[in-house]
């Protein structure tokens, strides 16, 4: 009976730890996915708007300078996200990291410059959540 209870307890702990680890991976991944996808959606929309003449050369140059500043940060966020299932970093550590925070702010600035309301709608909840 004692052995059965021990096995049961270990099973409970295993399932508990497994689901909490998966939950952490899910929260980080959903946030990283929203940020990276929104950023690339913004990039494509800006290129299309520039090609169609909706964004003039002057504004495009301004946005491009900011985009080239944020691109290396977004690449680092992507690589950090890839490590998440294998390392024991918390959700807070990932979302409040300097790269994630800087990336979020700069992508919001780019979306504001280009007038991309859909992108802003996706990113504001994350910004508000990380400010709390």
């Amino acid at each position: 009976m004692k052995r059965k209870l021990t096995v049961l307890l270990l099973l409970v702990l295993l399932v508990g730890c497994g689901s909490s680890h998966q939950q952490r991976v899910n929260v980080i991944s959903n946030s990283a996915d929203v940020l990276l996808t929104s950023y690339q959606t913004a990039e494509l929309a800006i290129v299309a708007a520039h090609d169609s003449g909706a964004i003039n050369d002057e504004l495009f140059a301004k946005i491009a300078a900011k985009r080239n500043q944020v691109s290396p940060i977004m690449r680092r966020i992507a690589v950090a996200w890839q490590q998440v299932p294998r390392v024991d970093s918390s959700v807070e550590a990932f979302l409040l990291s300097p790269d994630f925070q800087a990336g979020l702010v700069l992508v919001i600035e780019i979306a504001e410059l280009a007038g991309l309301d859909d992108v802003l709608d996706n990113l504001r909840p994350i910004k508000e959540a990380t400010e709390q």
Partner: protein, 66 residues
């Protein structure tokens, strides 16, 4: 069946039921975005980095000719 046995069975059921619920939750099919795996993340990141390489050219600032 004695009262002690019934209590023991009830106690065991109380202990086991959350485990069964957790296991069902753990193994049931979910929306892919609910349970991210390493493979899904790797694929997303690879696609992101490839697209980023292509977009670098689109956002390249042309040097002044002066």
């Amino acid at each position: 069946m004695s009262v002690a046995t019934i209590l023991a069975v009830l106690q065991l059921f109380k202990t086991v039921s959350p485990v069964i619920v957790s296991l069902i939750d753990f193994f049931k099919t979910r929306d892919p975005n609910e349970n991210w795996t390493q493979e899904m993340i790797d694929a997303k990141v690879a696609a992101f980095l490839d697209a980023e390489d292509e977009l670098d050219a689109e956002f390249a600032v042309e040097p002044d000719e002066d």
